[in-house]
């Protein structure tokens, strides 16, 4: 087991070992004002993106948001209509894919069917006419890295989906890229294999210290693996930040909803004082921390309260509310570790998640009292 950032024998990470903490990290990928149009549609509005050396960045968004297009532009398989792409300081905008120091792991299995596993992995090195011994070492190291030792002589058709994608990963890594691009490589696999490979990918990332740019529509996947998540929609970057950051402070209703927070509603600002807002959510009064810039009194804002922010307490018959709001459970979904309730409160229905634990699971129709901390109320820009 090697330490994070130390080169794995046989595989260099092209001099991009993660530098010691505290030193300035280089910019691995920089996109400036990159735009892309497909005949009538705009696939990408001018966007800027910076990926630091050794980072694991994920482009997250629904299908059609442009994330794959953006990835392919970095790879060189699509040309941007405007803007520039730089890899480690070098402008590669005019270079075709075969001249860029990046490699892409595709979504579908794209192993060469006429070559064995070893030959597939050695493809990149063989193009550069690497000496056989050196190439063989690389292949072995790569197979070890993806936990498929001894698979070298197998034929592509003999591999399962998970195995095939591992070989694809090994092939990309064996090419010594400066940045590794991955286009939803796990989306076609079973849940269990997917979880396993997610963990392995993270581990490989740690060991190699290589810069990863990952694309997915699965928010759980993005949050669990990435250093930074870039949420995209309709060709624009909605928000970029660490998983914790964007989860705790989604900046737009789209981001909130995409990350699974569905208690999004509008409220009017009644008063602003001491960095706090008094809000009228229509039949509901709330307080929330004021964002910057301060919304004016009387203005409308969009508010979100995450399902896990609530405390739920069942009310016995006749009891009055002990918390902030009273509601009735209208739907119960027991997931295992969590229970998802749909609670009808004045004016709306809220998703409430609670840990199942040893507490009783509330039945449909139960009157409950919901409470939350004011800090948990998130105010986003309107619209």
């Amino acid at each position: 087991m090697t330490e994070a950032g130390a080169p794995v024998a046989g595989l260099s990470s092209s001099g991009t070992a993660r530098p010691a903490a505290g030193t300035e990290r280089r910019v691995a990928v920089r996109l400036d004002a990159v735009t892309k149009r497909f005949s009538t549609q705009i696939a990408l509005h001018p966007l800027d993106l910076t990926v630091s050396e050794g980072e694991f960045v994920t482009l997250l968004g629904p299908s059609g948001c442009g994330k794959t297009t953006l990835l392919r532009i970095i790879a060189g398989l699509e040309w941007p209509d405007d803007g520039t792409v730089s890899i480690f300081g070098t402008d590669v905008t005019d270079r075709p894919a075969n001249k860029r120091p990046v490699n892409l792991v595709f979504q579908r299995v794209t192993l060469f069917p006429h070559l064995t596993v070893s030959e597939n992995i050695a493809f990149g090195p063989s193009l550069r006419r690497m000496k056989k011994q050196q190439a063989d070492e690389k292949v072995l190291a790569a197979l070890d890295l993806v936990r498929l030792p001894g698979f070298g002589d197998r034929h592509v058709t003999e591999l399962s989906g998970g195995q095939a994608q591992r070989v694809a990963l090994a092939r990309a890594i064996a090419n010594d890229p400066q940045v590794l691009l991955l286009d939803e490589p796990l989306s076609a696999l079973d849940l269990e294999i997917r979880r396993q490979l997610q963990a392995e990918l993270k581990d490989i990332h740690r060991r190699l210290g290589l810069t990863f740019v990952y694309v997915t529509h699965d928010q759980e996947e993005a949050m669990s693996m990435s250093d930074r998540v870039v949420v995209m929609s309709d060709g624009r970057i909605e928000q970029a930040g660490s998983p914790v950051e964007i989860y705790r402070h989604p900046r737009s209703p789209f981001v909130a909803r995409f990350l699974g927070m569905s208690n999004v509603f509008e409220a009017t600002v009644i008063a602003v004082a001491d960095g706090w807002l008094e809000l009228d959510g229509g039949s509901l009064a709330l307080r929330a921390r004021a964002p910057a810039p301060l919304p004016p009194a009387g203005g409308r804002v969009t508010v979100v309260i995450r399902p896990d922010s609530f405390d739920v307490a069942p009310l016995k018959a006749g009891e009055t509310a002990t918390g902030d709001v009273v509601g009735e459970v209208s739907d119960v979904r027991f997931i295992g570790s969590l229970v998802h309730y749909l609670v009808t409160v004045p004016g709306r229905k809220w998703q409430v998640s609670a840990r199942a634990g040893s507490a009783d699971i509330l039945a449909e129709g139960t009157r409950v009292s919901l409470s939350w901390r004011d800090e948990e109320v998130i105010v986003m820009k309107p619209g």
Binding site: G76, F123, L127
Partner: protein, 270 residues
Amino acid sequence: MSTALRRLRRRLRRRGIGLLHVYVGLLLLFLFLPLAVLVLFSFSASGQLRFPITGLALRWYQEVFSNSGVIDGILASLGVAAVTGAIVATVGTLAAVAVNRYRFRGSAVVSGMILAPAALPGLVIGIALLNFFGDIHLTLSLLTVMIGHVIYTLPYFYLVLSARLRRFDPMLEEVATDMGAGPLQRFRRVTAPLIAPAIVASAFVVLALSWDEFQITFFTIGNQSTLPLVIWSRARLSIDPSVNAIGTLMVAGSLLVVIFTRRFIAESYS
């Protein structure tokens, strides 16, 4: 239905044999029976084509192989098939690749024109070529036969190859480029090895078609004969087992071709 029949049907049903199976069996029998009879009588000792068969002998084959006319016919057929195959494979591959790879207006028209000869009966192609060769004063020979075969087999080659090319995953070329392959390397290492089997399979279709071709050859043949023509001229005169022998040889030839390319042909139906 009588109870006996019903019982039989139930017993067959249990073995998974239904009406369809019976039908298919009978149809396949129908397809192969004439050929079986043909082969059978080629080994008949007597000169009669009637049952019962008195004895088995190879005398007709001996007669056939000692006959220079038949040998010449076989060689002529092989030669024409080989040259036709080579020409069609070259021209056809270029065309199929051009239409498959490049989007250009009129590609449908081009496809249509390539496939046009298959829409006509061999008769019309044959007489058109005969007339043409007469007009340009080209003596009929194996060359003119070959020209006819090229026109005849080109659509089929194109059809089979195009179908196979469409199955080619374009992403494989992208992967190669992503790995660092320039256009030439990409072609040599990925594209060519993957479409080569398709070309070979299609070429074998051409060989088989040319080997059996009669209706066009009939008009474009000069002094030399291809094997089907040899059968024709002999069959005109009488029904004798030596023709059966030649026929059996033709069937054997086709059998060899088909078995040899079994791997390639099977792929196209998987």
